[in-house]
């Protein structure tokens, strides 16, 4: 039975999280992509290369297309009876997954880090900060709906092409009325991105003040690193939410993750513990972050970071 993957368009075509899930679906056999947003030839090529043989292209739908996309997707699902529909756990995809579950009366399992699809569908999730793995099987009829955490699978090109494209224009207002986007603000567009940078350096409340976040930036710059943050300092308004790493922020998997003045709360750990290597700087030798760090420096960020920045700069 075909596995479907819902993919929302980004400014650069299909988003990386959706391609990760599509790669996983293709490894199980026939994969179908449901693409929300006008699919260019380039976007179709990318979807094909990652294993989609068929693309259902949902176009239009107004500013916030989740409700309209859900109605169209529900009709398609009814007609084609896929075994499972997988979603990357990103904003609009989460909205569509939740709505679809309610509309077709099927459960959805969120926060999946692995999915096994055979005759049935078994989903792995992490609990207690990733210390326990829970496997849950669907017991009712399909399609089984799963929301997958970003970075759970790697996006792999397998060199295929899309053989069938069907376009479904969506009505501008969904069945749930028509909220409108009146303005869009981009807070983190320039420079190394959390999703792709080899090195990430994150700051937490241990920095002491919003101004001290410049210490993080001064180390990031010579390293070409992306900069991240804990929720504590995002909530405090020191840095924008786009930098938040963790359960309610981004999931990252860089070569090296450097945590500075970060305690290592379970909700932060789930977003970064799968980094290849972890460095932590914290003045408290008992801080939980040290239990996942390959290198731990017990020290003050206000001493270590300026010296680190200086040393890295002088090497360039």
């Amino acid at each position: 039975m075909a596995v479907w993957v819902f993919a929302e368009a980004t400014e650069r075509g299909p988003g990386e999280p959706a391609l990760e899930v599509l790669s996983k679906a293709a490894s199980h056999g026939e994969a179908v992509a449901v693409y929300l947003g006008q699919a260019s030839g380039e976007a179709l090529a990318v979807l094909g290369a990652h294993g989609a043989s068929t693309v259902y292209n949902l176009t239009g739908g107004g500013d916030l297309p989740a409700a309209a996309a859900t109605a169209a997707l529900a009709e398609l699902v009814e007609r084609e009876s896929p075994g499972a529909v997988l979603f990357a756990q990103t904003y609009t995809s989460r909205d569509v997954a939740g709505r679809l579950a309610a509309r077709i009366d099927r459960p959805v399992i969120s926060n999946a880090v692995d999915v096994a699809i055979d005759d049935g569908c078994t989903v792995t999730t992490e609990v207690f900060g990733g210390t326990q793995l829970v496997r849950t099987a669907f017991t009712g009829p399909g399609p089984h709906l799963v929301l997958v955490r970003p970075k759970s699978f790697s996006a792999e090109e397998r060199g295929g092409t899309v053989s069938r494209v069907e376009e479904y224009p969506l009505p501008d207002a969904g069945h749930a009325g028509s909220p409108q986007v009146v303005d869009t603000t981009v807070e983190q567009a320039e420079g190394p991105q959390l999703g792709s940078a080899k090195v990430i350096i994150s700051g937490g409340r241990g920095l002491g003040s919003a101004e001290a976040y410049s210490l993080i930036e001064s180390v990031a710059e010579p390293l070409g690193a992306a900069t991240g943050a804990t929720r504590a300092i995002v909530d405090a308004g020191w840095v924008p939410y786009a930098k938040q790493v963790g359960q309610t922020g981004k999931t990252v998997k860089p070569e090296v993750y450097i945590a500075c003045g970060v305690s290592g709360a379970m909700q932060h750990l789930v977003g970064m513990k799968d980094s290849k290597r972890i460095v932590a700087i914290n003045k408290d030798p008992e801080a939980p972050i040290f239990s996942v760090a390959d290198l731990g420096i017990v020290g003050d960020v206000h001493h270590v970071l300026p010296r680190l920045a200086e040393t890295l700069r002088s090497r360039d």
């Binding site: 988003g15 916030l64 409700a67 756990q89 904003y91 909205d95 997954a97 939740g98 709505r99 579950a101 309610a102 009366d105 099927r106 459960p107 959805v108 399992i109 969120s110 926060n111 609990v127 326990q132 829970v134 849950t136 099987a137 017991t139 009712g140 749930a176 009325g177 028509s178 409108q180 986007v181 303005d183 869009t184 807070e187 983190q188 080899k198 090195v199 390293l223 929720r231 939410y241 786009a242 309610t248 070569e255 090296v256 513990k273 290849k276 700087i281 030798p285 040290f290 239990s291 290198l295 731990g296 420096i297 020290g299 003050d300 001493h303 270590v304 680190l308 040393t311 890295l312 090497r315």
Partner: protein, 252 residues
């Protein structure tokens, strides 16, 4: 304006949690606290009520226990609470929860139904969207700022790269992020008043919802542990050790 705020009582996150080996469900002590993330939804609800001379009602499904968490919420200034407590709903998943909340919302009537983005203990993060779908209203999700704009609601909705300003007609479901507002602390008067505020209790049958989660836990196992590595005290040369480490990792 009629504002409903959905809140959950959860086991105190400060005390160690465990899974029941028989049911694989979180062990729930009778003493539960208000999910901290729900304080933001309550504050948003109270502010909207203040702006519109409206009223705020809590909706909460789960074991009532000692009601400590509900009292915490009422003490912030909420007018009344509707609790749905029924052993028949014990296995509720997110969709069953949404069915319960949607049915209760229909019964109470609402202009705005406020939720958190995701709860602290379950964190499936789809209850708001499901509830909106069942009610046939817009879902204004991931709101980090909320205000009335005439008869419409104006929010800042988080996106992967920043935020969108969204204007929506009512009624609507609104999910607010932690940090969206500064939740007020209960006053002494609020705490006293909370004791006598009306609390209604409903069952699954009152709302005509039955529970079939459609999923079952097949195994729980420890995850492969990450080993702690070397920990060194900084005596003025910690930064050099980091540079060495970065060199070995070939990222400088």
């Amino acid at each position: 304006m009629q504002i409903l705020v959905c809140v959950k009582q959860i086991p105190d996150p400060a005390s160690p949690s465990s899974l029941d080996p028989d049911t694989s469900r979180l062990v729930r002590p009778p003493e539960q606290v208000l999910d901290d993330t729900d304080r933001y939804g309550i504050e948003v609800g109270l502010q909207l009520a203040e702006q519109t001379e409206g009223a705020v009602t809590l909706l909460s499904m789960g074991p009532t226990g000692t009601m400590q968490g509900i009292r915490q919420a009422l003490a912030m200034g909420v007018g009344k609470a509707v609790l749905i407590d029924d052993p028949a709903l014990e296995d509720s998943d997110a969709l069953t929860t949404a069915k319960v909340l949607a049915a209760a919302a229909r019964r109470e009537g609402f202009d705005v139904l406020v939720t958190g983005v995701e709860s602290t203990d379950g964190y499936s993060g789809v209850v708001p969207q499901m509830t909106a779908e069942l009610l046939g209203v817009p879902a204004l999700t991931f709101a980090r700022r909320v205000e009335m704009d005439g008869p419409a609601l104006r929010i800042e909705r988080q996106t992967a790269s920043g935020f969108d300003v969204v204007l929506s007609p009512l009624p609507a479901v609104l999910s607010v992020t932690a940090g969206a507002v500064e939740p007020r602390y209960p006053t002494f008067r609020g705490i006293m008043a909370a004791r006598s505020k009306p609390v209604d209790t409903l069952t699954a049958a009152d709302l005509s919802v039955s529970c079939d989660p459609g999923q079952t836990v097949v195994s729980v196992a420890p995850a492969p542990e990450r080993q702690a590595g070397e920990v060194v005290e900084d005596s003025g040369t910690g930064h050099l050790r980091i540079v060495e480490f970065l060199e070995a990792a070939r990222v400088v």
